[in-house]
């Protein structure tokens, strides 16, 4: 499994509890508009992701990111 797949797998698992009942994660799922993450929930997700990957994720990547796939790619590029 590539590192990118690894990041995606962790993120998918971490996002599960936040998903609305009728929603599954697709690459182009928008994290704010579709999943409905609030700014505080995003912080919780990032913390869990840092812990899972044992890496620190620069937070200035976030403003550029909208979808699941973009977040995975941005993290992969910066850690």
């Amino acid at each position: 499994m590539s590192r990118r797949d690894d990041i995606a797998a962790h993120l998918r698992e971490i996002l599960q509890p936040y998903l609305p009942p009728d929603r599954v994660i697709e690459p182009d799922t928008r994290l704010v508009d579709d999943v409905g993450l609030s700014s505080m929930q995003i912080m919780e997700v990032m913390m869990e992701l840092e812990d899972a990957l044992d890496a620190s994720i620069p937070q200035n990547i976030l403003p550029e990111v909208e979808t699941f796939e973009q977040l995975v790619a941005a993290i992969d590029a910066r850690i």
Partner: protein, 594 residues
Amino acid sequence: MTQTPTQHRLPLRYADFVTLAEALDYAAGGETGFNFYDGRGGLKTSLPYAELCERSVATARRFQAMGLEPGARVALVADTVAGFAECFFACQYAGLVPVPLPVTVGLGSRDAYVAQLRGLLDSCRASIALAPEEFMPFLMQAADQMSLAYIGAFETLDQLPKADALERRDGADVTAYLQYTSGSTKFPRGVVISQRQVMQNLSSIVTRGVQIRSDDRLASWLPLYHDMGLVGCMLAALTSQRSVDYLATRHFAMRPRLWLGLISRNRATISFSPSFGYELCARRIRHNATDFDLSCWRIAGAGAETIRPASLQRFAETLAPAKFDDSAFLACYGMAECSLAISFAPVGEGLSVDTVDAETVANDHRAVPVTGHDANRTTEFVDCGDVLPEYEFEIRDDSGSPLGDREIGHIFVRGPSVMSGYFNDPDASKASLSSDNWLDTGDLGYRIGRRVVITGRAKDLIIVNGRNIWPQDLEWLAESQDELRPGDALAFAAPSMTGRDAAVLVIQCRLRETGARNELTRRLEGLVRREYGIECLVEAVAPHTLPRTSSGKLSRSGARRDYVARLQRQARARSDSEEAETLAASNARSQYAG
């Protein structure tokens, strides 16, 4: 690297300086200073005041080499880094006016953030704009096509040429800084504060508010573009020569334990937070509270938003195993328009809650104390303590007449630390500040002697998670949708049944088809979430049903009252204790009063 010490030999001076630059000159004679910690709690930069002084003077000479007029604005993206402090104090030496700008790291927030920065750069007519390297792309885009004398990163300032010597331009009447009271994109308001005003307030904060001691050490995650973070922590610590341990706000939001860890490890004695910070800790710290020893924490300040006693109580219970003492809670009240502080509760006594009859509050605008325990009939307000002695203050009714003890009205203050006005905005200044210098705080409350109790906001500011959201911005967002027109939206804060304020946006909408209406409300909820990072309940009502004032203006308070009444009717109809948030959410989606 080690952090700066808590104690040193320099005799403590209680912010009795004419200017902030003078205060730094004095602090530079000691060993204390600022310490910046990273997202894992490691010490990243230690900046003793001696070094801050030296670096600020050097930067001041670089600014002066640019040949700017005295009083020119220097916009600074106020991330919690040493570079911000250096530039802020460089302005103090050079007679330039620093303007702290917000830091945003919300998901997908780039466009909204750039627009916000652009609005602020434009509003303050910045000559210089600076940011940490990692925020430069946003700043560059925001300043596109603007004619600035200089734009660059904190990290590369030392490459610029210096003026031969520093021409000091500090003085009591010089503007100390411009503080934007909100991140409002469309309607920014910059509070102008002079050296005299801020020094007056700082001396009250350190002598009366926290009664600073030579063994005090501060810890803070508050943003430096916020008055409580900038004035209450950074400037109060520096002007009383105390060390501060800083955590960036976003690192706190991600890992609240880091805040408590810093306090515990470095034996910090003073740290402030809005209620939501205590709430976040209580929610996220589910185990291992005994990792911390918080017995050193003598002032756990609470302010900046409505203080929720239950949140603080829960924090105290969660952290009791860490020896947190709830008598450390200290309520305070203030606003950027007053430099910062207006009142402080007494040190070491914990929260004082005034339990009053809810009916009399609602119908008679009086706060009558009751001793009963019937929670349905009582309301709790936090006593924010004595108004500082330099202020005159009055509670006034709608017609402007002063009210007596325990009568609820508009809070007005007058005193030496009240702002000179809003920058370049005479209309807004006139609306808040009378010709004889009484400031309309925009808050509602009552007095008990010289003590002040806040009951709500008359101004329509929405505060969610410690963030100020201006209703105009939410309304503008709604009205820019194709389906809506100007005057079709009203935004306000309404208490949800959890006791917390939630943002509500009511739109009057001509769409007859349910599906299309739902699509619009959902779209708006998404837009608000993305641009402001908060949950907002969007409710569609029939055309021409938004309430108006007697003078025909749309009334936010009327819309709020209608909304609360609708909620209560629904709650009664359902009678059973359905989860409050679910109710509010479904209500917002389905109700259509047409």
